[in-house]
Structures are given as C-alpha cells and as structure tokens.
Symmetry: C2
Subunit: 92 residues, 2 copies
Amino acid sequence: MQKQENPTYLKAITIRDPSDIHTIKEDIKKEMILILRVTPLAQKDVDKLRKVVEELYTIAKNSNADIARLGEERIIVTPPGVKIWKPDYDLK
Amino acid sequence: MQKQENPTYLKAITIRDPSDIHTIKEDIKKEMILILRVTPLAQKDVDKLRKVVEELYTIAKNSNADIARLGEERIIVTPPGVKIWKPDYDLK
C-alpha cells in the first residue's frame, strides 16, 4: 500500500528501446502509476515490442500491479493501491 | 486524501458529448484517476471540445486535482493524492 503522507506519482513516458524496461521496473517498485507509450518501439521492431510487453505483464504480475492496454498506443501499469476500472475490458 | 483501506480507481473513458462532464465531475469528486479521450468530440465540434477542456481545468482547480494533456488524444485528471510527473511539461 502507498504511504498516506507521500503522493503517488503518475508518470507518462515513451518506451523507445527494450533497455528502458530497467527504469520502468524501478518505477513499478516505487509504486508509481505508469502510462507507457509503445508506438515508437512498435514501428521499429514488433518482436522487441512483443517481448517488452510480455516482460511488463510478468513484472506487473510479480509486483501485484494492475496492467491494461490503453488504445493502440499505450499500456497502463498501476501499483497495488490503484485498480484499473475495466467495465468491459475495452479501454479504447 | 484517499482512504488507505479502499483502492483508488483509474478509469479510462471517452468524452463524446459535453453532457458527459456531469459523470466526470462525480468521478473527480470520488477521487478517481481519469484518462479522458477527447478525439471523438474534437472531430465533431472543436468549440464544444474547447469548452469541455476549459470546464475540466476549472473543475480540477477547484478540486485540488492535477490535470495534464496526454498526447493529442487524451487528458489526465488525478485526485489530490496523485501528482502528475511533469519533468518538462511534455507528456507526448
């Protein structure tokens, strides 16, 4: 659970390279809310994108984080204290 | 501040009509994190979009909520306990 005295941060960033996953992992550990734009990587290398997305889902699962797609361009990852509202699993 | 025992919800929805602002206002009061897609309204009526965005900024200000643009398509609104990370005010 997040600390009451500190705000939770929402960070919107772009994944340009698979190596960006390290920083993202740290941010997930810090219980940040992440909105990750994946389109530049998708345009560069679809296989790398697939691996990054799989890794994100694994990290999220292991961190009790919630994860969902936001349209075609982005992925949302939220810490244990924040749940993604999925009325019909369509976030588009 | 949000209650420790209840999760904060992140809700991603599309604004299709200015009347949607009523529900959004309620959600901001409930301290939800909102990701609002504005493109359908932008395509329909740019003036209505401008008014809706102005209203959102006013509601956010009055609710101590944080607000920021996310690319061309979306607007993020966060409750007082969640701050939007703006390293250079460029969330694109």
